[in-house]
Symmetry: C2
Subunit: 100 residues, 2 copies
């Protein structure tokens, strides 16, 4: 088991120097490309590739949080605390929308 | 502290019925929109909004993993195990690229 914080710290140890050099927008761009690759893996239906792309998206999200000095676990738990942040129910009871 | 797995389970309890109804592509689309909102928060430099958007991106990523029956923590730790998956060093020693 690894906490969100521990994972963010792992990314910091491995990548912070490089991520800082790349900066927030360069790091965001990379995150955005990983999300495209996740879409491709979804289209192709390749299970191993799909799992790798999930790993890459959360890794780059943690990298971006590091560059911006955001505590990803704290930010996450402040918004999602076992209930839907909008309707405050679990399971969520908000009106269902397929699109926004 | 919350593990990646616990957080994914929390999202499952709150949202799985809705996420399943929306399906992988509908859920992906929403994740993609959250990433755009993260970019807007980055542009605007509003700290509270930025933190919320980080929370939303990881929440929708966990939702998508639930819909696709991917174990996000397992997928993440299989790729990122305290070293760079490419050069196997920590800190990473890969050639530096700003773009791909």
């Amino acid at each position: 088991m690894v906490s969100i914080r521990e994972f963010q710290n792992m990314m910091r140890r491995i990548y912070l120097a490089r991520d800082s050099r790349r900066g927030p927008y360069g790091t965001y761009r990379w995150l955005s490309e990983e999300l495209e690759e996740l879409k491709e893996a979804l289209d192709n239906g390749e299970r191993a590739a799909l799992q790798e792309e999930f790993a890459d998206v959360i890794a780059w999200l943690a990298s971006l949080a590091n560059v911006l000095d955001v505590d990803l676990e704290k930010a996450t738990l402040e918004k999602y605390d076992d209930r839907c942040p909008k309707c405050r129910a679990s399971p969520c009871e908000c009106p269902f929308r397929t699109k926004r």
